[in-house]
Symmetry: C2
Subunit: 183 residues, 2 copies
């Protein structure tokens, strides 16, 4: 399990290309994003906001799906993957009150969340952080990394997901696009 704090700040390892509210309230503008290990608060230069999340076990992926996903999933930190997205999402209480089988059905059988993601492998690297149990303002933070040449494919992926039934349960979503700063 990896707990990270994402901080919007004035200088950091990723330049914020844009920060756009997709649904609900936005976050304050910030020039850069820093990713700090553990439970940090305001340790980046020109700190503006922070979001925390922790990696955890899969909640919907079945064995046959994982067998397809795992060999194709690229690691984070590929040198060519100089573009990233941080997409914080909150879902409604109606979603969280659904039993497990109903959530799974909407997530995959109706919305094809896993199957759609699979089409963009190995171009798009992804890491999901859980935030709901941490008392954070969002339920998840998804982190994506890709090469500039795959930027259009990434747009297709997020567009496809946002048109699903699953997304009708999203009450807040922010799309933060990032460019890696030279070391």
């Amino acid at each position: 399990m990896i707990l990270n704090t994402f901080e919007g700040c004035s200088s950091g390892s990723w330049k914020i290309e844009h920060l756009r509210p997709v649904t609900g309230e936005s976050l304050p503008k910030a020039a850069c994003l820093n990713i700090l290990p553990g439970h940090n608060a305001g340790n980046s230069p020109g700190f503006v906001w922070s979001l925390r999340g922790v990696t955890s076990y899969v909640r919907y992926v079945h064995r046959d799906e994982r067998e397809q996903l795992t060999p194709l999933q690229p690691p984070l930190g590929r040198p060519e993957a100089t573009r990233a997205a941080l997409i914080p999402i909150k879902k409604s209480e109606t979603w969280w009150d659904l039993p497990q089988d109903d959530r799974r059905k909407i997530f995959e059988e109706q919305s094809r969340h896993i199957a759609t993601g699979l089409k963009y492998l190995p171009a798009i690297a992804r890491r999901l952080y859980q935030s709901r149990e941490l008392g954070e303002p969002f339920d998840f933070l998804t982190w994506f990394e890709y090469a500039p040449a795959d930027a259009a494919a990434f747009e297709d992926l997020v567009d496809a997901l946002r048109r699903t039934k699953e997304w009708t349960y999203v009450t807040r979503e922010i799309d933060i696009r990032l460019i890696r700063m030279p070391e």
Copy 2:
């Protein structure tokens, strides 16, 4: 969502009748247990240890099962329910690495966790707290409340669960039995 801190201490709202390690390392002995709202640390008299958990959405219960459970589930705090148990549990990384369908299969189709619990309703009130994402030493804390007359039934319930395949993934478990102190 409810975040609580359970504190082993020298005086509190529940007397610790016994604290017994079932699997793995125990916790230090304490005379009483206090349940504090939120993220507390060491605020009880004669503080010995603390465990935190947060209520969350169901991870395995299906719609048909919930329709059976919900009308039978008693609330916490019934005047006659003067006995309680706090059972902190940690499962192995092998468990957490399993895909969702495999965990569900072991949990219910093989171990009958939900069906077994159902047999003890409405006698035994239960609340599950998630702790894994909080970086706590246990993955869950389960809190049970029952009347003294149902103490034998509660023994049957925990005995039945401990003999399941699901429990072969438990790497640490402590059984803390409690008696409510007079107000």
